[in-house]
């Protein structure tokens, strides 16, 4: 058992890269100014702490391997040796104090650097946590330009974006490791952070505070894109949902409006206007369904609608009694909502 463990360890070592390319949800692969600052801090702390750890271990092993006379009377103490040890220990404590001061100051200035990220008139997003999905609302002075979507945030790359965090049920925590440290969404008061991505790309975030049965499946995507692409996306999102075009889509639309879907979901431009579940107006344009649980595809969409409780047990979406044809029609309609 021991041997297999060691073999596994040896086999795994090359799989632990030192930095970079560790996934779209990694703090070690920063893609924004705040996360870069933090990654630097992580490496610095790790380096320094590893050195301290090594030093302690070397001294310990050295001390144990010293050759000595055997089994003398325990109360005969080498006074000179102890005096020397006193000086060494005092020095080590002084070094610890110094180290802690340096690390505290580093943290303090790092914190200031991150807090200083900001800009004039940033895009403001109000992010609301629900069990277990994210409601995303783009704020604007003009009411017709406010926009609601879910589980996917689009931001202009290179620009700071203000994110206001709140919750209507339990405490969640917003965390996109590649861009920023985490911040809690707490019922009763709003938190805020400034998100900034250096380059276009897709970054995954996940709820980091235990929030109940489906805490594991509460993710969101942050899509950073160039300003023009972002504006294009924004304007497209403001428009009403596309009208169904084929017969199957029309059938799906009718089913949506006359079956349980309409009780919780909203599709702008139709009579579906509930806000209990995520807004589905441009559902098919998103990369994932069920808060990052499944990739967007026809098959996954059908699987999710047919039996959500086996994909995400405990989620609020109930199982509907749809026949095979009805399911196909609803999926065809939803897939059309680009």
């Amino acid at each position: 058992m021991k041997a297999t463990g060691l073999h596994r360890a040896a086999a795994l070592l090359p799989m632990i890269p030192l930095s970079g390319c560790t996934g779209i949800q990694s703090a070690l692969d920063p893609k924004g100014p705040a996360a870069s600052e933090l990654a630097w801090l992580i490496w610095f702390f790790t380096g320094l702490c590893s050195l301290i750890w090594l030093a302690v271990m070397i001294v310990l092993i050295w001390g144990l391997s010293k050759r000595r006379g055997d089994r003398a009377e325990p109360l005969d103490i080498d006074e000179a040796g102890d005096r020397k040890a006193t000086r060494v220990v005092t020095g080590a404590v002084a070094a610890t104090v110094l180290m802690m001061i340096v690390l505290s100051l580093l943290s303090y200035f790092s914190n200031r650097t991150i807090a200083a990220i900001g800009g004039q008139n940033p895009v403001t997003i109000k992010l609301t946590g629900h069990q277990w999905w994210w409601e995303v609302r783009y704020e604007s002075d003009q009411p017709r330009r406010t926009l609601t979507t879910a589980n996917e945030i689009h931001i202009p790359a290179g620009e700071p974006v203000r994110v206001v965090l709140s919750s209507t049920d339990v405490i969640h925590s917003f965390w996109v490791p590649a861009l920023h440290g985490k911040k809690d969404l707490i019922p009763g008061f709003d938190n805020e952070l400034t998100l900034k991505a250096d380059k276009p790309g897709v970054y995954r975030g996940q709820c980091a505070e235990f929030c109940g049965a489906q805490h594991a499946h509460m993710a969101l995507m942050v899509v950073a894109e160039p300003r023009e692409a972002f504006d294009g996306w924004y304007n497209a999102q403001l428009s009403n949902a596309r009208q169904p075009e084929t017969d199957e889509q029309r059938a799906g639309h009718d089913l949506f409006m006359n079956r349980p879907c309409i009780m919780c979901h909203k599709i702008q431009g139709t009579k579906a206007a509930a806000n209990t579940g995520p807004d589905l107006t441009h559902l098919a344009g998103r990369q994932t369904i069920a808060a990052g649980t499944l990739h967007m595809s026809r098959g996954n969409l059908a699987a999710w609608i047919a039996d959500p409780q086996s994909v995400k047990p405990g989620a609020r979406m109930p199982t509907m009694n749809l026949s095979g044809d009805e399911l196909n029609a609803v999926v065809a309609y939803l897939e059309h909502l680009k």
Binding site: D169, P187, N258, R259, P260, I262, M263, C264, A274, T276, D307, Q309, S310, P313, G314, A315, R316, P318, T319, M320, N321
Partner: protein, 179 residues
Amino acid sequence: MMRKPASLAIGLALAVLGGCQREERETRPEPVLGESQQAVPVTALEPGGNRPQFSNPKAAQFEGNAYHISQGKTLFSAFNCNGCHSNGGGGMGPALMDEKWLYGNSIESIHASIRDGRPNGMPTFGRLIPDDQLWELAAYVKSMGGNVPSAAAPGRNDDMMARPAENRMPNAATQGRTP
């Protein structure tokens, strides 16, 4: 020495056994497809004065189950039942926290009322709400008048308080008195 923990365990087990069925959290209907087929009494006029009792296997699964009742409470406000029944106090629709039940206060009757609607304004939700969620709503409505074991009744919500929580309500039918 060992007899003591054993007897304590048995005592504890008996004490909480009553509660354990109320903790099951079955979220996937069984079978996945197929609605409960149920005869629905639509009138109170019955020969001999007694209403026939209809039972449904789902009634026992949902009635008195803390998890389902609390889901029903969430749905009650999500589906805006408050629009007519205002927190059970009644408005356009009848009050749900008193002892007066026009169509019966069994969970089956409440389920039928929600599923098929009732005259004078109660709409039909049969097609709009999946069957299990209807049962959850029915179980919750039943709890509004203090008509379920208080160990299963929901506590207060994290909202402004319009009324005492269901687990603090005396049974509406008896007002706390033994009948």
